[in-house]
């Protein structure tokens, strides 16, 4: 065990040393720490129910929905690939060393506790928003963080046990996957029925999730009951949930410790998957699980010189899309943005599509944070094509702009019909959404030039997200001022879109030389 603790200790020490070697990274980290401190202070110190005071049932509903989504996605992936705490280096070195498997598991568990910081950070960022809308208990923030910790500790353990059972035969794997799908479908059907009755998302969330069956439902209900204590106090549901989760985590650990010391194989595929996912991240992609790539699509390679990159990218997009350029991420943005509009309180009804635009742009920021150009600059072809760097940069990013405009068109046309928005608003939102995408794209390139590719991708992604938000902020403030004066949604969108265009063009000019050679991107 001492040897494994040595790995953890030295990893931390070297990470800190690495940051001090690069002043720009140190600034980045200081920036992050300040941001976290600010969010923490805001999470704990700000008053609750500042804007409005949502009902406890609505709060429980939101928490349940979030944990259903998180458990469903992570456990389903776990059944297929065996979610794991381990990296391939652990497999190669620790698994073959004369160390008891239970000690290795304990080491992984300690590592995972560190890993929960990421989840905690994401949660902390949401707390001020929750506090604005709900009158939380004085200890509410702690309860939300506790539920996130319980989730982060439990899902890899459950995944490993499920995977270990499912991997014995494809029949078991399919059975478990179907079971998860049926449960998810049952929730969706219940929700739709409730929605048909109540005609209100908030009321349906309350009706479907704020009942004993949902609150005491193993794992998901337990976790959301812990989170719900943030508003409802220490109810019996909280104690059952907390005890249930503690027993589950302890029990699952014991099962893996005592009954299945031979868990290495279960971990192996998961560890390989983690490496592949991290490699994909480095290249600027999200590793999309079970992504189907079509062999033939009705899209020809065309163009000459730099423009050939654009047509190659279009072909790649078409091969992974459901329809035209509509892929998983598009569907996710579209559904989430429209659901968001439904949930939004009625006072925002004056803005027909702007709230959707802001939310979709925020989602796009999260999706595009990885930076699409990464996959191109990891390969040599782009540097060898006989064309100017600016020309190549334009064409290599054009595919993303086309996709964003296409997604925007689908999203805002559908939303426009649903919420009876005028055509000019639909067009304005579509174009502005495209400009937001362009800002994120070229912002990513600038960030690569400043920070390089070597250090932590997590930090780079975080800094990029904050910088992008800061960059688009003046446009949003300008738009808000114009709206306050004129009450014209179209003018507001035009101001924001105009700012997006100016920003994207400026960023393009600054990043135009990036494809001169490999060194300019690293």
């Amino acid at each position: 065990m001492k040897a494994l603790l040595f790995v953890i200790r030295r990893t931390l020490k070297n990470l800190i040393k690495g940051v001090f070697k690069k002043p720009i990274l140190l600034i980045g980290y200081i920036f992050i720490i300040l941001f976290i401190v600010l969010m923490l202070v805001a999470s704990f110190a700000m008053p609750s129910g500042f804007i409005r005071s949502g009902s406890p049932g609505f709060f429980t509903g939101i928490m349940s929905l979030v944990f259903i989504f998180m458990y469903y996605t992570t456990l389903k992936l776990g059944i297929e690939k065996g979610s794991t705490y381990f990296r391939l280096a652990d497999v190669n070195f620790a698994f073959t060393a004369p160390i008891m498997p239970n000690k290795i598991l304990l080491y992984a568990f300690i590592k995972q506790v560190g890993g929960t910081f990421l989840f905690l950070f994401i949660a902390i960022c949401q707390i001020p928003n929750l506090k604005n809308n709900f009158a939380l208990q004085p200890y509410g923030t702690w309860m939300i963080l506790l539920s996130v910790i319980m989730y982060a500790l439990s899902y890899p353990l459950i995944s490993m046990i499920l995977y270990s059972w499912a991997t014995k035969s494809s029949g078991r794997k399919n059975l478990l996957k179907r079971l998860f799908d049926i449960l998810a479908l049952a929730v969706a059907v219940l929700f739709i029925f409730s929605l048909a009755k109540t005609r209100s998302f908030a009321d349906s969330l309350d009706e479907v999730f704020n009942n004993p069956v949902a609150r005491y439902f193993p794992v998901i209900g337990w976790t959301s009951s812990i989170a719900s204590a943030a508003m409802n106090g220490f109810t019996p549901e909280f104690w059952v949930g907390a005890m249930g989760m503690v027993l589950l985590i302890a029990g699952a650990s014991v099962v893996l410790y005592r009954m299945n010391l031979d868990y290495y194989e279960d971990v192996l595929e998961g560890a390989e998957y983690v490496e592949a996912a991290l490699k994909a991240k480095r290249e600027g992609n999200n590793l999309r699980f079970n992504l189907k790539i079509k062999n033939k699509v009705n899209q020809k390679l065309s163009g000459t010189g730099a423009s050939s990159i654009f047509f190659k990218n279009l072909l790649e997009l078409r091969k992974t899309a459901f329809f035209m350029f509509l892929d998983r991420s598009s569907v996710m943005v579209i559904i989430a943005a429209i659901v968001f509009k439904f949930i939004m309180p009625s006072e925002a009804s004056e803005l027909t599509l702007s709230t959707i635009l802001f939310f979709a742009a925020y989602m796009l920021l999260l999706i595009q944070m990885q930076g699409g150009i990464g996959k191109e600059i990891e390969k040599h072809y782009i540097f060898l094509i006989p064309a100017s760097s600016a020309e190549k940069l334009f064409f290599v990013t054009l595919g993303e702009h086309v996709k964003n405009l296409f997604d925007g068109f689908i999203l805002f046309t559908a939303a426009g019909i649903l919420f009876k928005a005028p055509v000019n608003i639909v067009a304005g939102c579509t174009i502005t959404y495209g400009f937001f995408g362009a800002v994120y794209t070229y912002g990513d390139i600038i960030a690569r030039r400043i920070f390089g590719r070597i250090h932590s991708k997590g930090v780079l992604i975080f800094v990029k997200a904050i910088v992008n938000l800061l960059m688009v902020l003046p446009g949003i403030i300008g738009g808000a001022i114009v709206f306050a004066i004129t009450r014209s949604e179209f003018l507001m969108i035009s101001i924001i879109g105009g700012w997006g265009f100016v920003l994207a063009t400026t960023l393009f000019v600054f990043s135009a030389g990036i494809l001169n050679n490999l060194e300019t991107v690293s």
């Binding site: 001492k2 040897a3 494994l4 040595f6 790995v7 030295r10 990893t11 070297n14 990470l15 690495g18 990296r87 391939l88 280096a89 497999v91 190669n92 070195f93 620790a94 698994f95 073959t96 060393a97 004369p98 160390i99 008891m100 991997t167 035969s169 494809s170 031979d262 290495y264 194989e265 192996l268 490496e275 070597i454």
Partner: protein, 237 residues
């Protein structure tokens, strides 16, 4: 030293390794050769204790997954994966701690020097090239002074000097009484050093013979390999 008896490994419906049996004695270099997908890596991973399997595997008479067995065997995986934030020297220190080694520093220095890595001691995992990562992986496996060591495609990514050095090490290990098992599909890379050849095809050992016996038969390893895996070759051609 290494005894594999009726080893079978099934991935869902695919039988990757089917009742494989062989032995590698102390002071012997065994080569596990075969076309892509023959089951070589699965066999090596099973011996390394990374996979569940049917059959028996023992190292020096001890079950391969026991702590006692793990103390005496080294493993160089197909894909070198290092701890991104640990330096080269810290990898070696970790291995020394994990295996309870004493006075390991001198051995570590010698290994690093032989692989031209003595000036890379402070470099961290993610700063190393693939070839350098492979060298660190080999140094870690050899640091424990193993009595049995397995190499899964060890030459991939190495520079010519490192390949030469590694081949010399194989012979040194053999002369020191270590059982060496090398998995590869590049026949030329192990042509001069092997004592026992194990040819795998479609999950089975289709040839298991010593160099002396093969030479006595007047055949070459290359010829035997292609004659036994011909169907596979024709398919891939």
């Amino acid at each position: 030293m290494l005894k594999v008896k009726n080893l079978s490994k099934k991935y869902e419906k695919v039988l990757a390794v089917n009742k494989v049996s062989f032995e590698i004695n102390s002071g012997e270099i065994g080569v596990l050769i075969g076309p892509n997908g023959a089951g070589k890596s699965t066999t090596i991973k099973s011996i390394a204790g990374l996979l569940r399997f049917e059959g028996e595997i023992s190292i020096d008479g001890k079950p391969n997954k026991s702590i006692d067995a793990k103390k005496i065997f080294g493993y160089v995986p197909e894909t070198a994966a290092l701890y991104e934030s640990l330096s080269v020297w810290e990898h070696l220190e970790f291995i020394a701690r994990a295996y309870g080694l004493k006075d390991w520093e001198e051995t570590a220095e010698v290994l690093l020097t032989r692989f031209d890595m003595e000036d890379k001691k402070e470099k961290i995992g993610k700063e190393l090239s693939k070839g350098m990562q492979q060298k660190v992986s080999i140094c870690c496996a050899l640091l424990i002074n193993p009595r049995m060591v397995m190499f899964d495609e060890p030459m991939i990514g190495l520079d010519p000097k490192a390949i030469k050095e590694l081949k010399e090490m194989f012979v040194e290990l053999k002369n020191a009484g270590c059982a060496v098992l090398i998995s590869t599909h590049i026949l030329d890379s192990i042509a001069e050093i092997w004592d026992k050849a194990l040819i795998m095809n479609k999950g089975e050992i289709v040839y298991n013979n010593t160099r002396d016996a093969m030479l006595a038969s007047g055949e070459s390893l290359e010829h035997i390999f292609f004659s036994l895996t011909d169907e596979e070759e024709a398919e891939t051609a």
